[in-house]
Symmetry: D3
């Protein structure tokens, strides 16, 4: 069983493609970087337990019920605190970017303190633990809870994966991200990152004149020397309409051919779908090239789906890897 | 000019008559007890200035633009702090009640402190000041800002009106409502109340066996002895499907005949529409009976309108006072 | 075949139960008093030809296609002129009335002139002709076209029915309605009226202290002496929530028991459904009591249907006559 | 654990209150008499396993995921066959009835044959088994599977409850319902019925001149003599706007005071909510009067909720029993 | 008059661009390959009669009324049987394909048997008969009815056109498509095909290394030798974003320049619009190049329209042929 | 303060991307070339007064309230006349063009006559006056009012800007556009035009073989010789998916690099956003290249926004100038 830990959010998305200043209704999706990863893993048949802290109200319950619909074990969620974290999104459209207003301060998750969560019980039967930089970004207490989880997971020999996920609009509790993450990242055996996060968290720079593949190699080398326990690193890249992925795994480098995505339904959650696909590939012992193809296909397909979750099955991911984008009718 | 002070809220209302646990979209309305009163007054031709504190984001700006559409002066709003107060509502339907989840902790308004607002500038040209118990219920700082406003208004000879508006789910900052409101209510020359608020704020009990009109008279007498400056008190009552109003004004008692409301579109904001109608009547020097008829008509008509605001004009209120409820077609 | 003549309108109805001042979308229905009657007759199996004048654009074509869907012969519609008549409606809800904004000046129909319509062709195979006061209310040219139609129908021995349908917001072309209608009404063998229209068009007053049934009898007697060719008169009445009907036919008086309608989906078009039911009953030679029961059932059932058209079949009307209102599930 | 067995259906409900002939969109809800009961029981904390046969497509999977969201064990569902049963509903509104078009012939469930379901595994840990007459109404194979389930349940000493649920539009496979149900009903220890079903299945008539309570007593006596194993019988009644319930349990008769329901959001599923409430009361050992009050409250509250499922919690049901209908705002 | 014969379907399309697993509402369109062709022909002024078998319920009636709106003669439709064929579609978006779930087994159309339809009456005044491979794919009875129709049409000298339309998910009644179609296709004077259908029905292979135009020529030659009565063959091709067409007619080959379609609103029905345009061109005696340009324009334009029907007029098709794709505003 | 003068329109836009013939609902936006310019200027901080004539009904009031929301001074609007101008739009999609049906004949604005508007009061505090060719296109009275305004503005030394905006479907009152505009255009110090308008209004032709930049230079030279007071001319161009701009200002020529717009949300109002951006740049004394970059960015960004108004702020326009199109998520 894989345990995922982080904040569950209610996403309120401006309806009918309107700007915030025009919107008179919001579509509601549930989200959260780690929950997003868990949903895809669970849909692909990996048993997943989701751990978080939520208030006792129907907005939170609705989210938990949706996680349950996707097959996730929600029985270890802690209840308490005052509010569910929320984020508002304004739909972009290829000309204008998608915009986000975070409204997660003071959430039940942000109110976490070490000692609140019964990790022994949460980690029963658990072989993998996934978290992301966002889980440590919202409050000192949450960062301390992350540390507590990582120490316990490490003690139990659980494989730890981390998505760096640096969000500049968070990290408002008085510490530099590097100070916090520098302590937490070394527990990871598997990491997903982007060049910006690597710079902020680890102070690693790559050659801006170089191509993406070269920069990835530079990044792997620098990170590996800092975090010797790291065994796998993956990155997805979006450049203009092209979406591609890179993997360092078992000492080899693997690159997925990029997809040209002309029209994106919802870009949010693509990175988490990539991570979900990556973990699926690793857990199933796929060869390196297959892993990165699988992860990149998940990240691309997600962008055709409304909401934060990659509602995908194995057959269609494999079909996509073979056939690529399709405007056809399957009947 | 009338100045209204309180918190502007984003209301997110479950769409398509769904329960929270079923809702996948929320209609967005802007709200707040004092803003609601201001909107009706402004639509009826009374110049209104709205004073509050808001974050600098598009969710808050959208609310300000809507207030401006209704003709309200929004030029004295203070910007700062982190988030807009939100409340979620689940549509009731005459069998089930309408349910509210407040999510206003940590809002920009709740972050108010005395000294932040430039009352001298806010009160330029102002003859009336309206606030409600909710304005003091969300934080100590907000309650202190209320006190500051009341002292300044009183010094300037501004007529002060207060809607008691007790909300048991607020008042979480460690003081009993009576302790806070006991200090603030005596500034009022005009008050709107309900029997429950009067009990909580002032410890006044009325005879539960008596009828509504008798209890209103008892209440007036008890309140008048506590707050000698009080010159006007009004209450609206809902019992089963009947909605009615009572007024003590210029030492006389006036009762509006009740309306039987079979099907309510949106009950929220009815009390604020009643208050808006009351203030309109007083400011225009109507006789007591006309004032309470006008206020009660506003409160009843509001319940036929989606959202928190009483989008009404003078002609239709007067027509309603004369003709009552109507299922007709006006063509 | 029955020919119906009048103006086809696009109705734009505020969406989501909003007031005009709140509405950001309008549901589109096609309408027109005479078209409404024709749709119900056609659905009940009576062959119907609809005659009007429309502009050559897709807004008009969409309406013609919908009439065709209901089985109406639209092959004699005249095309020309500049615009389709429109009316906007604001949904009422039992507290507030439904409001109408007419926007039909300058329409293709209002631009009608005598000689434009080829009545000989329009009246081929026609046994009944139906029109209403609205058809003559929008312009002098339209009133002249009505007169032309009536003279031709009368010459051919066609049975003429008229719904008085007085609308005070129309009649803006400089003539008093009585002047125009006084000339046109005497062609009618069948009439549907209401007390107000009878007063405006014919100067007939009834005793306001009397009950509805007595006033109906008074009205019949006064009208009969003015229009000796009149053989049938029917009226529907709405009082509070009660909807009922009265008929004078073959020298007898018949009254349908009233229906108590608690919640009305759309009141518009109820009168036209009543008229459609009346004509159906007469054309099928039903006894007087059955005719008025049928007409009243149609008028009541219409109010449960969105849009202006009574989408009903014979079986359900007959079931309604026997069983009355129903909140049941038919499965 | 309670096992519920029957057909899962996709309900397609005409949108925007339209008639079938007007509807251009259908809201999708999942349904089925036994699933409806299971959802309420599960929400109230009773462990529930749902057993059915479904096709392997995303329409069926979506329904299974929704059941899982409500906490139901869906791990014993059998997959196979060609299609999901569907039913279309046309929204009624208190004037017109709600209409149903069944489209469930040839469904995966109807294709059931004895031997297909592994009852030994399905009944592991099961103490109660619930089914309804609909489960046997769709095909001979389904009726045979019902018999197989009942025999196995009976052998294991499982408490069997049955909702008579006679639907005249089903039962098209060539047998009279009495022939089939006469064999299956005697297994029941608990039954929910209505006077019509009792007549069709058992040939029992009650005195049509008598009141509901007297007819219930007559019905109990007649049924008890036919099915001696029956220990509990309950009925809900709807007459005009009044909804009430009756119970015979442990040899006593209990009647819940009726509720007057002015405006019903969705009448479908009220009976199943009543049954769910009944089973909850019995399983929790409530006294007879409390059981029938609880069941009747569930049936009434359901009618305020869109879709077939009673999305309710214990606290609000108990509040409703104490306070009755409410148009209030809970804040 | 052109007669079209096949199955009318209700298409239920996932709303708001959602996947099946996310959809809580379905937009309803009426469809069917032959009806789709008929709608476009009728809109272009060709008299069309549509022949099918439908159940007597409002879902079927709604479809018939929509056909009537488009000017189609629906007076020869046969009523009987139990259900309307349905198909569900999941909206694709250029990344993911559009997916279809057929639910047409057991439909009224599939229940057809020879002798049911009165072809003599159906073919009165008919000069052209159109059908497609789907009409024979759903049941042996339907295939037999196709044969019956073709024999009768042939006897009367009616020009027969067939769209091969192979659908691998149908053809479940135990015969290989080649066995059935091999018998039925030789009646055709005009055919629309694709390379896959030609392979399945006729065993004809073309050189997969060759370009589309070459393969079309190979296909014509092979087909012509098998079906000597064939005089016209057309194909449309979609490759990546390019949509193009080819025609063999009066012994000449004609190719339309392809259109590059960046964003497709609804790909379904494009082939039928192509066929409708082809038949229009042939019936109006256009030169070969003009025919294939017209057909290809119809197929391209259809993809900009929601639903299965090509709601187009002559002027805009001709404008499109001249000007191509347009993002302009016509005002 | 900038005064803008023209007609305020209600735009009714077919919902759900439907064609007119399919649409059963219309989204409502307020519009009008000059109002559109005013909204963007006001949002960018330029004080704007909007002058028009409107009927006294809630459809017009709703539009005025929306202008007020954007900060526009609506206090000088004249009320009178019968109807609000309307235009219907059918959403295009890159294959089909967007289509417009104008319905503005007989509007309150078209009923304007010289002398009606109190220009002295309207021009108090005004430094710039903006109008467009549409303002003179709807009636002789409106053209006369334009002339009156221009003379007064000129007398007061107000800077006059004009958007040529030739609409061939208007200009139906019997004069050639050149006759009217030839008189009115010479007042302009700033003009926005397109090659077609320049040809119709001024008879100026440019070399169709030349590129856009060359033709712009030719056009400037020809116009400058005709209107010597002209000091600034700008044009935007759309060619296939490319949108670009050109400016002649202070005797220099400036060209903005074009944007490639793959998917346009709403093309309507792009020209007005370009004009608003141009005026903003001029009023703020930007260098020529910066002005045309700013204007072109506004015109491009508008096409990503539903409705006619460019809901934009300074920061995002500047960001767009630097970074170009974006499919990113800003968080
Ligand atoms: Ca809206
Ligand atoms: Ca999105
Ligand atoms: Ca919905
Ligand atoms: Ca929805
Ligand atoms: Ca509400
Ligand atoms: Ca809406
Ligand atoms: Ca309505
Ligand atoms: Ca319902
Ligand atoms: Ca589609
Ligand atoms: Ca829609
Ligand atoms: Ca619709
Ligand atoms: Ca648009
Ligand atoms: Ni969206
Ligand atoms: Ni959307
Ligand atoms: Ni809106
Ligand atoms: Ni609502
Ligand atoms: Ni609603
Ligand atoms: Ni939903
Ligand atoms: Ni509506
Ligand atoms: Ni809106
Ligand atoms: Ni409506
Ligand atoms: Ni509904
Ligand atoms: Ni529709
Ligand atoms: Ni519904
Ligand atoms: Ni759609
Ligand atoms: Ni769609
Ligand atoms: Ni949904
Ligand atoms: Ni749109
Ligand atoms: Ni839209
Ligand atoms: Ni529609």
């Amino acid at each position: 069983m894989t345990a995922a830990f982080g904040e569950l959010l209610l996403r309120l998305h401006s309806s009918d493609a309107r700007r915030f200043l025009q919107s008179d209704a919001y579509n509601a999706y549930y989200a959260g970087a780690e929950a997003n990863v868990g949903v895809l893993l669970s849909r692909l048949g990996v048993p997943v337990r989701y751990i978080t802290r939520l208030p006792e109200n129907d907005l939170a319950r609705a989210g938990v019920e949706q996680l349950r619909a996707h097959g996730i074990d929600t029985g270890h969620i802690l209840y308490g605190g005052d509010r569910l974290g929320v984020y508002f999104t304004e739909q972009g459209n290829g000309i204008r970017p998608t915009r986000v207003i975070y409204d997660r301060a003071g959430s039940s998750y942000a109110g976490l303190q070490p000692g609140m969560i019964d990790w022994a019980s949460c980690f029963e039967g658990v072989s993998h633990f996934h978290w992301s930089g966002i889980a440590a970004a919202v409050s000192q207490g949450a960062a301390d809870a992350c540390r507590e989880a990582l120490v316990r997971a490490d003690e139990k020999g659980i494989v730890i994966s981390c998505d760096f996920n640096y969000r500049s609009m968070l990290w408002k509790y008085g510490k530099h991200p590097r100070e916090v993450m520098g302590d937490l990242l070394p527990f990871s055996r598997i990491a997903v990152a982007d060049l910006d996060s690597v710079n902020v968290y680890c102070g690693i720079d790559t050659d801006r004149e170089a191509g993406f593949e070269d920069r990835f190699v530079q990044c792997v080398q620098a990170l590996h020397s800092v975090f010797p326990s790291l065994q796998t690193l993956a990155m997805s890249f979006r450049r203009h309409q092209t979406y591609s992925g890179a993997l360092w795994h078992k000492d080899g480098y693997f690159f997925a051919p990029g997809y040209d995505l002309p029209y994106v339904t919802d870009p949010i959650g693509a990175g988490d779908a990539f991570t979900g696909g990556l973990l699926y590939g690793i857990m199933n012992g796929l060869p390196g090239l297959n892993i990165i193809q699988f992860a990149t296909a998940c990240g691309a397909l997600k962008q055709s789906i409304v909401g934060d979750w990659a509602i995908l099955n194995l057959a269609e991911i494999e079909h996509f890897i073979q056939s690529g984008l399709s405007g056809r009718v399957i009947r």
